[in-house]
Protein backbone atom coordinates (compact mmCIF):
# COMPACT_ATOMS: atom_id res chain seq x y z
CA UNK A 1 0.00 0.00 0.00
CA UNK A 2 2.70 2.48 1.04
CA UNK A 3 4.71 1.56 -2.06
CA UNK A 4 1.71 2.46 -4.25
CA UNK A 5 1.26 5.80 -2.43
CA UNK A 6 4.95 6.65 -2.80
CA UNK A 7 4.91 5.77 -6.51
CA UNK A 8 1.77 7.91 -6.95
CA UNK A 9 3.51 10.79 -5.15
CA UNK A 10 6.51 10.47 -7.46
CA UNK A 11 4.29 10.45 -10.56
CA UNK A 12 2.37 13.50 -9.28
CA UNK A 13 5.73 15.25 -8.80
CA UNK A 14 6.76 14.49 -12.39
CA UNK A 15 3.42 15.88 -13.69
CA UNK A 16 3.79 18.98 -11.50
CA UNK A 17 7.33 19.67 -12.76
CA UNK A 18 6.14 19.27 -16.35
CA UNK A 19 3.28 21.72 -15.70
CA UNK A 20 5.73 24.17 -14.09
CA UNK A 21 7.89 24.13 -17.22
CA UNK A 22 4.83 24.71 -19.44
CA UNK A 23 3.51 27.48 -17.22
CA UNK A 24 6.91 29.20 -17.22
CA UNK A 25 6.88 29.19 -21.02
CA UNK A 26 3.40 30.72 -20.98
CA UNK A 27 4.48 33.35 -18.44
CA UNK A 28 7.13 34.55 -20.89
CA UNK A 29 4.39 35.83 -23.19
CA UNK A 30 2.05 36.93 -20.39
CA UNK A 31 0.47 40.35 -20.82
CA UNK A 32 -1.86 42.54 -18.78
CA UNK A 33 -5.56 42.23 -19.48
CA UNK A 34 -8.06 44.86 -18.49
CA UNK A 35 -10.79 44.17 -15.96
CA UNK A 36 -14.24 45.66 -16.53
CA UNK A 37 -14.80 46.76 -12.95
CA UNK A 38 -18.41 47.83 -13.51
CA UNK A 39 -19.32 44.35 -14.63
CA UNK A 40 -17.24 42.87 -11.84
CA UNK A 41 -18.98 45.03 -9.28
CA UNK A 42 -22.42 44.01 -10.63
CA UNK A 43 -21.45 40.38 -10.31
CA UNK A 44 -20.50 40.92 -6.66
CA UNK A 45 -23.65 42.90 -5.83
CA UNK A 46 -25.45 41.06 -3.00
CA UNK A 47 -28.66 43.13 -3.31
CA UNK A 48 -29.03 41.86 -6.86
CA UNK A 49 -28.59 38.34 -5.63
CA UNK A 50 -31.20 38.75 -2.86
CA UNK A 51 -33.66 40.16 -5.39
CA UNK A 52 -33.14 37.19 -7.72
CA UNK A 53 -33.46 34.78 -4.81
CA UNK A 54 -36.87 36.27 -3.90
CA UNK A 55 -38.20 36.38 -7.45
CA UNK A 56 -36.95 33.14 -8.98
CA UNK A 57 -37.78 29.52 -8.17
CA UNK A 58 -34.99 27.82 -6.21
CA UNK A 59 -33.76 25.59 -9.04
CA UNK A 60 -33.51 28.52 -11.44
CA UNK A 61 -31.80 30.69 -8.84
CA UNK A 62 -29.23 27.95 -8.13
CA UNK A 63 -28.44 27.57 -11.84
CA UNK A 64 -28.15 31.33 -12.29
CA UNK A 65 -25.97 31.77 -9.21
CA UNK A 66 -23.59 29.02 -10.34
CA UNK A 67 -23.32 30.64 -13.74
CA UNK A 68 -22.64 33.97 -12.05
CA UNK A 69 -19.93 32.40 -9.90
CA UNK A 70 -18.24 30.90 -12.96
CA UNK A 71 -18.07 34.33 -14.57
CA UNK A 72 -16.85 35.96 -11.32
CA UNK A 73 -14.08 33.37 -11.10
CA UNK A 74 -12.84 34.46 -14.52
CA UNK A 75 -12.71 38.07 -13.36
CA UNK A 76 -10.85 37.16 -10.18
CA UNK A 77 -8.40 35.06 -12.22
CA UNK A 78 -7.76 38.04 -14.47
CA UNK A 79 -7.09 40.32 -11.48
CA UNK A 80 -4.76 37.66 -10.06
CA UNK A 81 -2.93 37.40 -13.36
CA UNK A 82 -2.54 41.19 -13.56
CA UNK A 83 -1.23 41.32 -9.98
CA UNK A 84 1.29 38.64 -10.87
CA UNK A 85 2.43 40.57 -13.95
CA UNK A 86 2.82 43.75 -11.85
CA UNK A 87 4.81 41.76 -9.29
CA UNK A 88 7.16 40.63 -12.02
CA UNK A 89 7.40 44.01 -13.76
CA UNK A 90 8.28 45.82 -10.50
CA UNK A 91 11.14 43.48 -9.56
CA UNK A 92 13.74 45.40 -11.55
CA UNK A 93 12.58 48.76 -10.13
CA UNK A 94 12.99 47.42 -6.57
CA UNK A 95 16.75 47.26 -7.19
CA UNK A 96 16.88 50.83 -8.51
CA UNK A 97 19.68 53.06 -7.12
CA UNK A 98 17.05 55.79 -6.55
CA UNK A 99 15.68 55.20 -3.02
CA UNK A 100 12.23 56.61 -3.84
CA UNK A 101 11.82 54.35 -6.85
CA UNK A 102 13.03 51.34 -4.87
CA UNK A 103 10.66 52.00 -1.95
CA UNK A 104 7.64 52.61 -4.23
CA UNK A 105 8.46 49.43 -6.14
CA UNK A 106 8.61 47.56 -2.83
CA UNK A 107 5.18 48.96 -1.89
CA UNK A 108 3.78 47.96 -5.28
CA UNK A 109 5.15 44.44 -4.92
CA UNK A 110 3.71 44.18 -1.42
CA UNK A 111 0.27 45.27 -2.60
CA UNK A 112 0.35 43.00 -5.63
CA UNK A 113 1.24 40.09 -3.35
CA UNK A 114 -1.64 40.98 -1.00
CA UNK A 115 -4.02 41.08 -3.98
CA UNK A 116 -2.82 37.64 -5.03
CA UNK A 117 -3.65 36.36 -1.54
CA UNK A 118 -7.07 38.03 -1.62
CA UNK A 119 -7.73 36.45 -5.00
CA UNK A 120 -6.96 33.04 -3.51
CA UNK A 121 -9.34 33.78 -0.64
CA UNK A 122 -12.01 35.00 -3.07
CA UNK A 123 -11.64 31.85 -5.18
CA UNK A 124 -11.99 29.73 -2.05
CA UNK A 125 -15.17 31.57 -1.01
CA UNK A 126 -16.58 31.33 -4.53
CA UNK A 127 -15.91 27.57 -4.57
CA UNK A 128 -17.83 27.23 -1.30
CA UNK A 129 -20.71 29.27 -2.69
CA UNK A 130 -20.68 27.16 -5.85
CA UNK A 131 -20.97 24.00 -3.77
CA UNK A 132 -23.61 25.53 -1.48
CA UNK A 133 -25.48 28.27 -3.44
CA UNK A 134 -27.51 29.29 -0.38
CA UNK A 135 -24.33 30.64 1.21
CA UNK A 136 -23.60 34.35 0.95
CA UNK A 137 -20.01 34.97 1.84
CA UNK A 138 -18.66 38.50 1.97
CA UNK A 139 -16.78 39.20 -1.24
CA UNK A 140 -13.06 39.81 -0.79
CA UNK A 141 -11.99 43.44 -0.57
CA UNK A 142 -10.35 43.24 -3.95
CA UNK A 143 -11.55 46.47 -5.50
CA UNK A 144 -10.10 49.04 -3.04
CA UNK A 145 -6.78 47.20 -2.92
CA UNK A 146 -6.69 47.02 -6.68
CA UNK A 147 -7.30 50.75 -6.90
CA UNK A 148 -4.46 51.47 -4.45
CA UNK A 149 -2.21 49.21 -6.48
CA UNK A 150 -3.09 51.11 -9.61
CA UNK A 151 -2.26 54.44 -7.94
CA UNK A 152 1.06 53.14 -6.66
CA UNK A 153 1.97 51.71 -10.04
CA UNK A 154 1.18 55.07 -11.58
CA UNK A 155 3.42 56.79 -9.00
CA UNK A 156 6.18 54.32 -9.75
CA UNK A 157 5.76 55.01 -13.47
CA UNK A 158 6.00 58.77 -12.82
CA UNK A 159 9.20 58.27 -10.85
CA UNK A 160 10.80 56.29 -13.61
CA UNK A 161 11.58 58.24 -16.73
CA UNK A 162 11.00 55.37 -19.16
CA UNK A 163 7.91 53.16 -19.37
CA UNK A 164 5.84 55.54 -17.27
CA UNK A 165 2.22 55.29 -18.37
CA UNK A 166 1.42 51.91 -19.99
CA UNK A 167 1.80 49.62 -16.98
CA UNK A 168 0.01 52.00 -14.61
CA UNK A 169 -3.04 52.24 -16.80
CA UNK A 170 -3.13 48.70 -18.07
CA UNK A 171 -4.01 47.07 -14.80
Amino acid sequence: MITVIVIALALCAVVLFYMAVRSRRKQAVQSLRQVDLTAFHTLLDRDDELFLQRKLPRSKFVGLKRHRIRVTVRYVARIASNASAVLHASEAARLSPMPEVASTAAQVMDLAAQIRLQCLLALFKLSLEYAMPSLQLTPAMLVPKYQTLRENVRRLGDLQTQNSIPLANAI
Binding site: V6, L9, A13, F17, A20, R116, N169
Partner: protein, 259 residues
Amino acid sequence: MFPGLESGILVKKEMTLPYLIRDLGLAGLTLQGLLTFVLLARGSSRRFPFFSAYVFLSFVAGIVGYSLQKRPIAYFYSYWFGEALGIALGLLVVYEIFRHLFTVHGALLRLATVTFKIALGVLLLAGLIVFFQSPSHTSSLAKAILAVEQATRIIEVGLLMILFICSAAFGLHWKQAEFGIALGLGFFVTLELLAVTLHHLVGLHGAELLNVMRIVALDCSLVIWLGYLLTPERATATLDVPKAQLEQWNQAVMELINR
Protein backbone atom coordinates in the same frame (compact mmCIF):
# COMPACT_ATOMS: atom_id res chain seq x y z
CA MET B 1 19.93 -24.24 -32.21
CA PHE B 2 23.15 -22.25 -32.15
CA PRO B 3 24.40 -22.66 -28.59
CA GLY B 4 27.64 -20.88 -29.24
CA LEU B 5 25.91 -17.87 -30.69
CA GLU B 6 23.29 -17.83 -27.91
CA SER B 7 25.92 -17.87 -25.19
CA GLY B 8 27.81 -15.20 -27.10
CA ILE B 9 24.75 -12.94 -27.04
CA LEU B 10 24.25 -13.68 -23.33
CA VAL B 11 27.84 -12.80 -22.54
CA LYS B 12 27.49 -9.65 -24.61
CA LYS B 13 24.30 -8.67 -22.77
CA GLU B 14 25.90 -9.27 -19.39
CA MET B 15 28.89 -7.23 -20.36
CA THR B 16 26.85 -4.35 -21.81
CA LEU B 17 25.13 -3.21 -18.62
CA PRO B 18 28.25 -2.66 -16.47
CA TYR B 19 29.89 -0.86 -19.39
CA LEU B 20 26.79 1.28 -19.82
CA ILE B 21 26.79 2.12 -16.10
CA ARG B 22 30.52 2.96 -16.28
CA ASP B 23 30.10 5.15 -19.38
CA LEU B 24 27.05 6.97 -18.00
CA GLY B 25 28.91 7.48 -14.72
CA LEU B 26 31.90 8.94 -16.54
CA ALA B 27 29.61 11.23 -18.55
CA GLY B 28 28.06 12.34 -15.25
CA LEU B 29 31.47 13.07 -13.74
CA THR B 30 32.41 15.12 -16.79
CA LEU B 31 29.16 17.10 -16.54
CA GLN B 32 29.70 17.60 -12.79
CA GLY B 33 33.19 18.93 -13.50
CA LEU B 34 31.74 21.26 -16.12
CA LEU B 35 28.99 22.45 -13.78
CA THR B 36 31.55 23.08 -11.01
CA PHE B 37 33.58 25.15 -13.47
CA VAL B 38 30.47 27.11 -14.59
CA LEU B 39 29.46 27.82 -10.98
CA LEU B 40 32.95 29.09 -10.13
CA ALA B 41 33.48 31.02 -13.36
CA ARG B 42 30.12 32.82 -13.18
CA GLY B 43 30.34 33.55 -9.47
CA SER B 44 27.10 31.63 -8.89
CA SER B 45 28.65 29.84 -5.91
CA ARG B 46 28.26 33.06 -3.88
CA ARG B 47 24.60 33.37 -4.88
CA PHE B 48 23.80 29.70 -4.34
CA PRO B 49 26.23 28.45 -1.66
CA PHE B 50 24.24 25.32 -0.73
CA PHE B 51 23.66 24.31 -4.34
CA SER B 52 27.34 24.85 -5.11
CA ALA B 53 28.31 22.75 -2.08
CA TYR B 54 25.87 20.07 -3.30
CA VAL B 55 27.47 20.01 -6.75
CA PHE B 56 31.06 20.05 -5.41
CA LEU B 57 30.24 17.23 -3.00
CA SER B 58 28.66 15.11 -5.78
CA PHE B 59 31.74 15.69 -7.90
CA VAL B 60 34.15 14.72 -5.11
CA ALA B 61 31.96 11.74 -4.12
CA GLY B 62 31.98 10.58 -7.76
CA ILE B 63 35.78 10.71 -7.96
CA VAL B 64 36.19 8.97 -4.58
CA GLY B 65 33.66 6.32 -5.68
CA TYR B 66 35.65 5.56 -8.82
CA SER B 67 38.94 5.36 -6.96
CA LEU B 68 37.48 2.99 -4.33
CA GLN B 69 35.71 0.60 -6.74
CA LYS B 70 38.09 -2.25 -5.95
CA ARG B 71 37.71 -1.85 -2.16
CA PRO B 72 34.08 -2.81 -1.45
CA ILE B 73 33.93 -1.99 2.27
CA ALA B 74 35.53 1.44 1.87
CA TYR B 75 33.30 2.03 -1.17
CA PHE B 76 30.16 1.05 0.81
CA TYR B 77 30.84 3.50 3.63
CA SER B 78 32.02 6.33 1.39
CA TYR B 79 28.99 5.84 -0.89
CA TRP B 80 26.45 6.02 1.92
CA PHE B 81 28.27 8.87 3.65
CA GLY B 82 28.10 10.78 0.35
CA GLU B 83 24.40 9.91 -0.04
CA ALA B 84 23.56 11.12 3.49
CA LEU B 85 25.46 14.37 2.97
CA GLY B 86 23.83 14.74 -0.46
CA ILE B 87 20.33 14.38 1.00
CA ALA B 88 21.07 16.90 3.78
CA LEU B 89 22.49 19.38 1.26
CA GLY B 90 19.55 18.70 -1.07
CA LEU B 91 17.18 19.84 1.68
CA LEU B 92 19.32 22.94 2.21
CA VAL B 93 19.14 23.63 -1.54
CA VAL B 94 15.32 23.55 -1.30
CA TYR B 95 15.58 26.06 1.59
CA GLU B 96 17.93 28.22 -0.49
CA ILE B 97 15.47 28.34 -3.40
CA PHE B 98 12.61 29.08 -1.00
CA ARG B 99 14.60 32.00 0.46
CA HIS B 100 15.46 33.38 -2.99
CA LEU B 101 11.86 33.12 -4.13
CA PHE B 102 10.05 34.55 -1.12
CA THR B 103 12.41 36.94 0.70
CA VAL B 104 11.61 39.79 -1.68
CA HIS B 105 7.87 39.32 -1.11
CA GLY B 106 7.29 40.41 2.48
CA ALA B 107 3.52 39.97 2.25
CA LEU B 108 3.86 36.35 1.13
CA LEU B 109 6.88 35.33 3.18
CA ARG B 110 4.96 34.79 6.41
CA LEU B 111 2.22 32.70 4.83
CA ALA B 112 4.74 30.77 2.75
CA THR B 113 6.87 30.07 5.85
CA VAL B 114 3.86 28.80 7.79
CA THR B 115 2.79 26.64 4.82
CA PHE B 116 6.30 25.24 4.55
CA LYS B 117 6.54 24.50 8.27
CA ILE B 118 3.22 22.65 8.21
CA ALA B 119 4.26 20.76 5.07
CA LEU B 120 7.59 19.85 6.65
CA GLY B 121 5.81 18.53 9.75
CA VAL B 122 3.41 16.43 7.66
CA LEU B 123 6.23 15.13 5.44
CA LEU B 124 8.38 14.26 8.47
CA LEU B 125 5.47 12.26 9.83
CA ALA B 126 4.96 10.57 6.44
CA GLY B 127 8.67 9.79 6.28
CA LEU B 128 8.60 8.23 9.75
CA ILE B 129 5.55 6.13 8.86
CA VAL B 130 7.23 4.91 5.67
CA PHE B 131 10.43 4.10 7.59
CA PHE B 132 8.70 2.12 10.35
CA GLN B 133 6.30 0.41 7.93
CA SER B 134 9.25 -0.83 5.88
CA PRO B 135 9.51 -4.53 6.88
CA SER B 136 13.23 -4.78 6.18
CA HIS B 137 14.56 -1.75 8.04
CA THR B 138 15.79 -3.83 10.98
CA SER B 139 17.21 -6.77 8.99
CA SER B 140 20.49 -5.23 7.80
CA LEU B 141 22.41 -1.96 7.74
CA ALA B 142 22.03 -1.56 3.96
CA LYS B 143 18.24 -2.06 4.12
CA ALA B 144 17.94 0.34 7.04
CA ILE B 145 19.88 2.93 5.05
CA LEU B 146 17.55 2.39 2.07
CA ALA B 147 14.52 2.89 4.33
CA VAL B 148 16.02 6.13 5.69
CA GLU B 149 16.79 7.24 2.14
CA GLN B 150 13.22 6.55 1.02
CA ALA B 151 11.81 8.53 3.96
CA THR B 152 14.09 11.52 3.39
CA ARG B 153 13.49 11.50 -0.39
CA ILE B 154 9.75 11.71 0.33
CA ILE B 155 10.40 14.85 2.40
CA GLU B 156 12.61 16.32 -0.34
CA VAL B 157 10.13 15.60 -3.16
CA GLY B 158 7.22 16.86 -1.04
CA LEU B 159 8.97 20.13 -0.19
CA LEU B 160 9.85 20.73 -3.83
CA MET B 161 6.23 20.06 -4.81
CA ILE B 162 5.03 22.55 -2.17
CA LEU B 163 7.55 25.08 -3.49
CA PHE B 164 6.18 24.77 -7.04
CA ILE B 165 2.54 24.79 -5.85
CA CYS B 166 3.08 27.88 -3.63
CA SER B 167 4.86 29.81 -6.35
CA ALA B 168 2.04 29.01 -8.80
CA ALA B 169 -0.66 29.96 -6.27
CA PHE B 170 1.07 33.25 -5.40
CA GLY B 171 1.83 34.00 -9.06
CA LEU B 172 5.57 34.34 -8.51
CA HIS B 173 7.99 34.53 -11.40
CA TRP B 174 11.01 32.28 -11.12
CA LYS B 175 14.37 33.53 -12.18
CA GLN B 176 16.12 31.35 -14.74
CA ALA B 177 18.79 29.90 -12.42
CA GLU B 178 16.44 29.25 -9.48
CA PHE B 179 13.90 27.53 -11.68
CA GLY B 180 16.59 25.38 -13.27
CA ILE B 181 18.06 24.36 -9.89
CA ALA B 182 14.63 23.43 -8.49
CA LEU B 183 13.59 21.59 -11.65
CA GLY B 184 16.85 19.62 -11.93
CA LEU B 185 16.80 18.71 -8.25
CA GLY B 186 13.11 17.79 -8.44
CA PHE B 187 13.66 15.51 -11.44
CA PHE B 188 16.64 13.81 -9.80
CA VAL B 189 15.14 13.25 -6.34
CA THR B 190 11.83 12.03 -7.80
CA LEU B 191 13.59 9.33 -9.84
CA GLU B 192 15.78 8.50 -6.82
CA LEU B 193 12.61 8.07 -4.75
CA LEU B 194 11.16 5.77 -7.42
CA ALA B 195 14.39 3.76 -7.59
CA VAL B 196 14.60 3.35 -3.79
CA THR B 197 10.92 2.41 -3.58
CA LEU B 198 11.08 -0.15 -6.38
CA HIS B 199 14.43 -1.59 -5.21
CA HIS B 200 12.94 -4.31 -2.99
CA LEU B 201 10.35 -5.28 -5.63
CA VAL B 202 12.77 -6.14 -8.42
CA GLY B 203 15.38 -8.86 -8.73
CA LEU B 204 19.12 -8.52 -9.25
CA HIS B 205 18.79 -7.68 -12.94
CA GLY B 206 16.01 -5.19 -12.18
CA ALA B 207 18.21 -3.57 -9.54
CA GLU B 208 20.91 -3.08 -12.17
CA LEU B 209 18.39 -1.41 -14.47
CA LEU B 210 17.31 0.84 -11.59
CA ASN B 211 20.97 1.75 -11.15
CA VAL B 212 21.09 2.78 -14.80
CA MET B 213 17.92 4.85 -14.26
CA ARG B 214 19.49 6.62 -11.26
CA ILE B 215 22.65 7.48 -13.18
CA VAL B 216 20.63 8.68 -16.19
CA ALA B 217 18.48 10.80 -13.84
CA LEU B 218 21.60 12.44 -12.38
CA ASP B 219 23.04 13.06 -15.86
CA CYS B 220 19.74 14.59 -17.02
CA SER B 221 19.63 16.84 -13.94
CA LEU B 222 23.18 17.98 -14.63
CA VAL B 223 22.16 18.85 -18.19
CA ILE B 224 19.10 20.76 -16.85
CA TRP B 225 21.27 22.69 -14.36
CA LEU B 226 23.88 23.52 -16.99
CA GLY B 227 21.20 24.52 -19.50
CA TYR B 228 19.39 26.87 -17.13
CA LEU B 229 22.57 28.36 -15.67
CA LEU B 230 24.07 29.05 -19.08
CA THR B 231 20.92 30.37 -20.79
CA PRO B 232 20.50 34.12 -20.34
CA GLU B 233 17.42 35.46 -18.50
CA ARG B 234 14.54 36.41 -20.78
CA ALA B 235 13.75 40.11 -20.90
CA THR B 236 10.37 41.27 -19.60
CA ALA B 237 7.97 42.06 -22.42
CA THR B 238 6.75 45.64 -22.70
CA LEU B 239 3.17 45.94 -21.56
CA ASP B 240 0.75 48.22 -23.34
CA VAL B 241 -2.98 48.70 -23.90
CA PRO B 242 -5.09 50.92 -26.20
CA LYS B 243 -5.94 54.36 -24.81
CA ALA B 244 -9.74 54.13 -25.36
CA GLN B 245 -9.92 51.12 -23.07
CA LEU B 246 -7.92 52.99 -20.44
CA GLU B 247 -10.50 55.75 -20.28
CA GLN B 248 -13.28 53.19 -19.96
CA TRP B 249 -11.33 51.56 -17.18
CA ASN B 250 -10.75 54.86 -15.34
CA GLN B 251 -14.44 55.66 -15.55
CA ALA B 252 -15.42 52.27 -14.17
CA VAL B 253 -12.99 52.68 -11.27
CA MET B 254 -14.21 56.20 -10.48
CA GLU B 255 -17.85 55.10 -10.54
CA LEU B 256 -17.07 52.30 -8.17
CA ILE B 257 -15.16 54.54 -5.77
CA ASN B 258 -17.88 57.18 -5.72
CA ARG B 259 -20.66 54.76 -4.87
